[in-house]
Symmetry: C2
Subunit: 156 residues, 2 copies
DNA sequence: CTATTTGCAAAGTCTTTGCATCGGT
DNA sequence: ACCGATGCAAAGACTTTGCAAATAG
């Protein structure tokens, strides 16, 4: 499915909810698609959109992302100390490992979590929200870089 | 180990790092101990401390928590849209399931995550930081309350 | 005594909101 | 035309920082 088609499909859901398909919204969705691999922030999205549509305001991005989240199209995660990052929720068949040193995102399939989810549901009567399976850690590259040091103070 | 002893032990680590044991710091640690089950925010901690020490400023709490985190004594988590919450890092043998509806925290033992961690390390060369194993979801009580609705919009 | 810590206030960062105007349907 | 969306600016929530005074060691 190409980007234009995906955008139309998502805007169809927006309209089904009483929302409208505007230029700014198309551009925001385009940016989300183009940068889906970097978990963009609102600032990142706004700057990118403004390259072609200089008038688009940050508040528009915030408001549309809220709406997309309400519709279940995107999710947000707040890692570390920085601003919130957004990504599509539709990618329901995989989750993310975010390296807390280099920020690289590794995708892992949902099935990795299946047995854990089942066990927690059975033993603790708690249904984990799959979309919050974003886990922090260290990728191999960063781990090798300063493995001599044991503490790994990052001092933010 | 009683609270006074735990506080002394933690202040000993602070002093070993060149820090000092002050009244405000004792009160903050006492509050962290008393409220360890609710993942307190800075505001929560400050208000509690101020009951006995009205002069203690919020900035003091922020600064001391930063230091405790740097020393590996506490960790922070940012869930949903609200402020950062803090908890002891020492509780290394369990993790938290936080209900996104009622906020209740369920503790689960570390071993639940062991096989997942190993698998991710082996297959993806990624070492998950155990302390970020806080997972969101729905507890049974909340799940039963509005199970008829399928979507469960929470509107933040 | 000296270096760290504190309270206070100001500044900073990220996010939300009010409102007149604009634009999609 | 109608009602939702937008830009802008202001306000809000949370956090950090500067600095002189206070205090631990």
């Amino acid at each position: 499915m190409d980007a234009a088609t995906r955008i139309d499909a998502m805007l169809a859901r927006v309209r089904a909810d009483g929302g409208r398909a505007t230029t700014a919204r198309r551009a925001i969705l385009q940016t989300l698609i183009d940068h889906h691999d970097v978990h963009p922030t609102v600032e990142h999205i706004t700057t990118t959109v403004q390259a072609n549509h200089p008038e688009v305001a940050e508040s528009t991005v915030y408001r549309f992302l809220d709406e997309l989240e309400r519709l279940g199209i995107v999710e947000h995660v707040r890692l570390g100390h920085g601003p919130t990052v957004y990504h599509f929720a539709e990618d329901t068949n995989h989750h993310h490992l975010v390296c807390s040193t280099c920020g690289r995102v590794t995708e892992v399939p949902q099935r990795i979590f299946d047995s854990l989810s089942k066990r927690v549901l059975r033993d603790y009567a708690f249904e984990i929200e799959a979309r919050h399976f974003t886990l922090a850690g260290r990728c191999q590259t960063c781990d090798e870089q300063d493995s001599p040091g044991v503490h790994g103070h990052s001092h933010r």
